[in-house]
Amino acid sequence: MSSQLQPEMHAAVQPKTKKSLNRMKRSDWFWAYLMIAPTLIGLGVFYLWPIVQTIYLSFTKWGGFGKYKWAGLHNYELLFKDPYLWIALKNTLIYTVVAVPVGIAISIFIAVLLNQKIKGITIYRTLYFLPVVTMAAAVAMVWRWLYNADYGLINYLLGLVGIEGPRWISDPAIALYAVIIVAVWSSIGYNMVIFLAGLQGIPRSYYEAAEIDGAGPIRMFFKITLPLLTPSIFFVSITSLIGAFQVFDLIYLMLGSKMGNPATEQTQTMAYLFFTNGFESGNGGYAAAVAVVLLVMILIVTAIQMKLQKKWVHYD
C-alpha cells in the first residue's frame, strides 16, 4: 500500500519524480526479465518448444536415420486401427481406476490411525515412507523376486494356507494387478503424509462436540473427517491420476521385454506404447501420436475433475 502512496506524495513536492518513477519501474522490469530469463529460455527450449514439435511429429512418418516427412493423419489412422492402442488404453484405464482409489483409501485409513495421538508415529511414518524414496528399478526387482512363481516368497506363503498362487507376472490376466499392488504399496507413504497434514488441520473441538452428541467413531469419520479432508483428497486424486495415466517404470521393469514375457504385450500401457515405438522400434511419428492422445486424455480428465470439484470438495 505505502509503496503506491509514497511516490505520489513525493510527486506533489518534486515535479521531477514522474521521470524517476518511470526509471524505477524500468529497473524493476529489467530485473524481472533478467531473473526469469534462464528458466524461461530453458523451459522454452526443452519443454515448450517440444510440445509444439511433438504435435508436429505426430503428423510425420519416420524412415531410417531419424529422417521424417509429412504424412498427414496417417499415424492417427494407424493408431486407431492398432489393437495395441486399445489394449494400452484399456490397461491404462484399469490401472488408473483401480490403483488411484485403492491407494487413496488405504492412505486415508493409515493416516487416520496415525492421527490417534499414539506413540511411535515417527517410526511408523518412516517405515511407511521407505518405498517412496526407493527407486522403481529396485522396487520392481525385489517384487519380481517375491512374485516369482517357482521360488517366490508370496506363492510359498499362499501355499502354506492351501492356496495355489498364480504366475503373477507372466499370466496376462494377472500381471496388471500384480503391478497395481506394487504401485499402491509404493505410493501409500507419500499420500499418507498429505492426508495426515489435512487431518491435523481439523479442529479437535468438532470431534468433542460430536462425542457429546453421542456419535460413534464411524459416524464421526463420515460426517466430520471425510468432508473436511476433501481438499487433500482432491489434490491427491489429481496428482495420482496424472501419474497413473503415465505409468511406465513398473510395467517396463517388472514385466520385462515382450520377447521374454508373454504377458507384457497384453499388459502394456500408453506410456509403454509410446516408449517402445519411439525409442525401441524407431516409429517416432507414431509415438508422437500416442503422446498427443495421452495429453488430450489428461487434459480432459483434469478438466472434468476441476469442474466436479465444486460438487464434493469442501473449502471453508
Binding site: Y33, I110, Y252, L294
Partner: protein
C-alpha cells in the same frame, strides 16, 4: 466408569498399534527380503521351502557386482547429476519465482501461464524432441544430457513462488529505500527467509533425480554413462538378462541405501515439503 473408559482406551490403542504394525510389516518385508536374499548363495536363494536367514553370509555378492558392472561409474553419474540438478534448479527456480512473486512487470501473467502449461503436460510429450535436441548437440551418452534439461523446472518455480508470496511485503521496501536492487533483495533478504521452501524443493529434485528412469534410459545407452536406476534396469534387461537374484538384490541394496539414509536424516523436511505442495 473411569476404569472402564481407560480400559476401553487401552484396548483401542492396542488395536490401532496392531493394525499399524501389520501394515508396517507389509511395507518393510520386501526390503528385509531384499537384504537377506542379497547375502545368500544362488543355490540357497532358490531352495524350496525358502530359507529365511542365509546359512553363510555371501558378502562377495557385493564385490561381484562391481566386477560385473561399472557400479562406481553408476554412483558417480548419479551423484553428479543429482547435485548439479539440485543446485541448478534451486538457484534458477528461486530467481524466477522471486520475480513472479515480488515484481510487477508487463507480461507477468502470460509468462506464468506458459510455466503452468509445462506443469500440466505429461512427460511423454517432451521426450522425443528432447532426445532429438540431445542428439543434435552431440550430448547422447554424456552426463550433460542427464543434467541440462533437469536444470529448469516449472514445478520448482511454482512451488517457490507460492513460498515467496507468503512473505510480508515490508521486507523489500526497507531494502529498496536503502538502494538495494532486486538481485540484492533476492539474495540477501528473500533467500534466507525462504529456506524451508528451498530445502523442500531440493529434496524433491534429489529424489526425482536419483530415481529417474525413463530419461537416462533414453539418452545414455553405454553402461559407464548410466546412473544407478538405468544401470539396475540394464542388469535385468536383454543385454545381460541376469536371473541371479542374490546379485540383483545386492545391486538394489547398493542403489537405494543413500536415499534411505538421506530420508531418515532429513525426514522432517521431506514431510514439510510434501505438506507444502499438498496444502494449496
Amino acid at each position: 466408569m473411569s476404569a472402564y473408559t481407560s480400559l476401553n482406551k487401552t484396548a483401542k490403542n492396542l488395536l490401532v498399534h496392531l493394525m499399524l504394525i501389520v501394515g508396517a510389516l507389509v511395507m518393510v518385508a520386501p526390503f528385509v527380503w531384499m537384504v537377506l536374499t542379497s547375502l545368500k548363495s544362488l543355490g540357497e536363494s532358490t531352495q524350496v521351502p525358502p530359507v529365511i536367514l542365509p546359512t553363510k553370509y555371501q558378502w562377495e555378492n557385493y564385490t561381484h557386482i562391481f566386477e560385473m558392472l561399472p557400479f562406481l561409474d553408476f554412483y558417480w553419474n548419479t551423484v553428479i547429476t543429482t547435485v548439479a540438478k539440485v543446485i541448478g534448479q534451486v538457484f534458477l527456480c528461486s530467481l524466477a519465482a522471486y520475480a513472479f512473486a515480488r515484481i510487477e512487470f508487463p507480461g507477468r501473467n502470460a509468462l506464468f501461464i506458459l510455466f503452468l502449461t509445462v506443469l500440466m503436460v505429461p512427460g511423454q510429450v517432451f521426450l522425443l524432441p528432447q532426445f532429438m535436441i540431445m542428439k543434435e548437440l552431440g550430448w547422447l551418452n554424456t552426463l550433460t544430457a542427464l543434467i541440462v534439461p533437469g536444470l529448469f523446472s516449472a514445478f520448482g518455480t511454482f512451488l517457490l513462488r507460492q513460498f515467496f508470496m507468503s512473505l510480508p511485503k515490508e521486507l523489500e521496501e526497507a531494502a529498496k529505500l536503502d538502494g538495494c536492487n532486486h538481485f540484492q533483495i533476492y539474495w540477501r533478504i528473500m533467500l534466507p527467509l525462504a529456506k524451508p521452501g528451498l530445502i523442500a524443493l531440493a529434496i524433491f529434485v534429489a529424489l526425482w533425480s536419483w530415481n529417474d528412469l525413463m530419461w537416462p534410459l533414453i539418452v545414455n545407452s553405454t553402461p559407464d554413462k548410466m546412473p544407478l536406476s538405468a544401470g539396475l534396469a540394464y542388469l535385468t534387461g536383454e543385454h545381460t538378462n541376469l536371473t541371479n537374484y542374490p546379485i540383483l538384490m545386492a545391486g538394489s541394496v547398493l542403489a537405494i541405501w543413500p536415499m534411505i539414509i538421506v530420508f531418515i536424516f532429513l525426514q522432517k523436511h521431506f514431510v514439510e515439503g510434501i505438506t507444502l505442495t499438498g496444502s494449496k
